[in-house]
């Protein structure tokens, strides 16, 4: 992720050293629920696949998620939630990212999310919404596609 500064200039400090540094992914548990089994599994699977993963821990606010994403300069944010508060809280994360001028980060969502809410989340900018039973292979290939299309 490269944050645009006030003048609209790209901050290039993050892509100076290596042509192919590992992509950085933030896995965020926004909201109040403590169901982190899926998030923790995914974190290990992503690390095994060569990504650098930052985990926020449970019970983070949208503001904390966005701040960590900026501080850690991540390429991808994956949000996980079970409680049913996704429409409000995921929307708030997307809104805050816009306010902060963060534009090129890939947004992913996962959790107990009913099919009928998927179009709404996609309209907010979530590139993929992974629902219960989604195999990790599907998540990895979607991620690879998203990142390579942005190279």
């Amino acid at each position: 992720m490269r944050k645009l500064d006030q003048a609209g200039q790209q901050d290039l400090t993050s892509c100076t050293v290596d042509a192919h540094p590992p992509k950085r992914i933030l896995i965020g548990k926004v909201g109040l629920d403590g169901h982190d089994r899926g998030a923790k599994f995914l974190i290990r699977a992503l690390r095994d696949a060569g990504y650098e993963v930052i985990y926020t821990g449970i019970r983070r606010t949208p503001e904390q998620i966005v701040q960590t994403a900026i501080d850690e300069d991540v390429d991808v944010i994956g949000l996980s939630l079970l409680s049913g508060a996704h429409n409000q809280l995921f929307a708030r994360v997307a809104e805050l990212l816009k306010e902060e001028g963060v534009e090129d980060v890939v947004l992913l969502a996962g959790g107990t999310i009913p099919e009928k809410d998927v179009p709404y989340l996609e309209a907010l900018g979530f590139r993929h919404v992974f629902t219960p039973g989604a195999p990790v292979s599907e998540i990895l290939s979607a991620l690879q596609q998203e990142l390579s299309s942005r190279e």
Partner: protein, 557 residues
């Protein structure tokens, strides 16, 4: 020459069985198979009656209702009375949930189980910024006593027992339950039910903590002491393995970590000066039931035996009721699939059967649609019917611990017990469960098991029907229940209306008194009862405690 098993059996009948039957007789319809063959309440080993074999049997299993309770905590088990059918429920506001409770009771449910929403569980009022989007979502929103009055409207608390899944603010909700009882004319001493009140597993697996472990354990033991005096029929804790299992542990880890938590609670209560036989009889437990039927049956038996030995031998408890591991079971939600949801009905039936064959005291069966969201009324009814079919039609309720003596079950029981005991020993060496949690020991062990299990599914080494085999192209999604935004608004309106009409000086006074007492070592329970009677809210009471105790912060990887 030692007494034979037959002689011991006759003694048990006179000592334990007959007094129990005199109190609650056996049901005539549970004494024969469907073909008319008589079934005994209890079967014992036959044909190798030498002294050594008898002694080995008595040490490992004994008789139901007696130490070490491997075969069950009651001498007749379900032959006299079925387990309590208790569906965990709650959503939206108190009115909607009260309606669901009355529906469930009409459908033959025999106890209530309250699911609170996350803001209530973490001590935030419904109008708190952090409650945004969460009000009424995973359970019912309760802010003040006014909500609790509506929740139990027309439900007689002297007749129905209630389990409440509440931990950090357990005292507040228990105080509200006492206050609702008072308004119905039911004294606290007659209230029956269970409060989860198990903070350690919140740090390990569930996440609804507020305060650090030290103050949390104090609140837990305050409830033990208060209830020992005033609420002798209430279970003061439900030491929970369910969430540990749901986080991905093995069966032995579930038993080992849960009983290690139980040991920590006993240690804390003893340090607070309580006598073990005053509070241990009111400790209860809560486990999950997976689909792996035989291991699950063995797990429940192993947990009973191991706990009985710990409380009797390690803590020197004298009252047999202190030794009994009584438990609630819920079928494991993480086994439900969003694909081919009807398959979940079958999974739940097998899991429920495991719980019954394992001797559970109460049972929640999950609904088929819970991988997608909260269950609809129709789905909950089917889940309850599943229990009723097992109870009335399967015949497994006719006989105590019917799988005992199976080579497989006995071996698995021994194995779960040995492995769980090794975990407890390891935690003892670390200085107890609080220290183990600080060092992330149980968390890491669970995470390893969870990762292994999920990898097996990803690699098709473990088959989940309808997910990684026998998948279908088109999956029809059932109707799911959604919580209306109107309920959230109603809840916030009611809170501000209550704040407007209560005596605010009384609220301030009770909260100040509570905060001061929290700085001493006083029992906080009576003061919280005063505060809820004045209609102080869950958030206000928890804030008073936060000012004294601070808040727990999770370390992340």
């Amino acid at each position: 020459m030692a007494e034979s098993l037959e002689e011991r059996f006759e003694q048990w009948k006179a000592r334990t069985l007959e007094p129990a039957i005199a109190k609650v007789p056996e049901c005539a319809d549970r004494t024969a198979t469907v073909s008319g063959v008589p079934t005994d309440g209890l079967y014992l080993p036959e044909g190798h009656g030498n002294d050594a074999a008898t002694e080995a049997y008595l040490v490992a299993q004994g008789f139901p209702g007696e130490f070490p309770f491997t075969r069950g905590v009651q001498p007749t088990m379900y032959r006299s009375r079925f387990w309590t059918m208790r569906q965990y429920a709650g959503f939206g506001d108190a009115e909607e949930t009260n309606e669901r409770y009355r529906f469930l009771l009409e459908q033959g449910q025999t106890g209530l189980s309250v699911a609170f929403d996350l803001p209530t569980q973490i001590g935030y009022d419904s109008d708190h910024a952090l409650a945004t989007g969460e009000v009424g979502k995973v359970g019912v929103a309760i802010d003040t006593l006014a909500d609790m009055e509506i929740l139990f409207d027309s439900i007689p608390l002297d007749k129905v027992s209630t389990s409440m899944t509440i931990n950090s603010p357990a005292m507040v909700l228990l105080a509200m339950y006492i206050a609702v009882g008072e308004k119905q004319g039911v004294e606290a001493s007659r209230l029956t039910g269970t409060i989860q009140n198990d903070m350690l597993k919140e740090y390990i697996a569930r996440g609804t903590y507020i305060f650090p472990p030290g103050p949390s354990l104090r609140l837990t033991t305050n409830i033990f002491a208060y209830a020992a005096e005033l609420m002798p029929r209430f279970n003061t804790i439900s030491v929970s393995g369910y969430h540990i299992r749901e986080a991905g542990s093995t069966a032995a880890q579930e038993v080992g970590f849960t009983l290690a938590d139980g040991i920590a609670y006993i240690d804390a209560a003893l340090s607070a000066g309580l006598d073990v036989d005053r509070f241990a009889p009111r400790m209860s437990f809560f486990f999950g039931a997976m689909t792996d039927l035989l291991e699950e049956v063995a797990k429940f038996r192993a947990a009973r035996r191991l706990w009985a030995r710990i409380v009797k031998e390690r803590f020197d408890a004298k009252d047999p009721r202190s030794w009994m591991l009584r438990f609630h079971t819920q079928t494991c939600g993480a086994t439900l699939t969003a694909q081919q949801v009807d398959n979940n009905v079958v999974r739940v039936a097998i899991q429920a059967l495991a719980a019954v064959l394992g001797g559970t005291q109460s049972l929640h069966t999950n609904s088929r649609d819970e991988a997608l969201g909260l269950p609809t009324e129709e789905a909950v009814q089917l889940a309850l019917r599943t229990q009723q079919v097992i109870a009335h039609e399967s015949g497994v309720a006719h006989t105590v611990d019917p799988l005992a003596g199976s080579y497989c079950i006995e071996k698995l029981t021994d194995q779960v017990e040995t492995e769980a005991a090794a975990y407890i020993e390891k935690i003892d060496e670390m200085g107890g469960m609080v220290r183990a949690i600080e060092q992330h020991y149980p968390q890491n062990e669970i995470e390893q098991s969870s990762y292994r299990y999920q990898q097996q599914i990803e690699r098709d080494q473990r088959i989940i029907v309808g997910v990684n085999r026998y998948a279908t192209e088109v999956d029809v999604q059932p109707e799911i229940l959604t919580v209306s935004e109107a309920a959230t608004r109603r809840q916030i309106d009611r809170l501000s209306e209550v704040r407007g009409r209560r005596d605010s000086s009384e609220v301030t006074h009770t909260l100040t008194t509570l905060e001061e007492a929290a700085r001493s070592d006083a029992n906080l329970m009576p003061l919280i009862v005063d505060a809820v009677r004045a209609y102080a809210s869950v958030g206000e009471i928890c804030d008073a405690l936060r000012r004294v105790f601070g808040e727990y912060e999770e370390h992340t990887m």
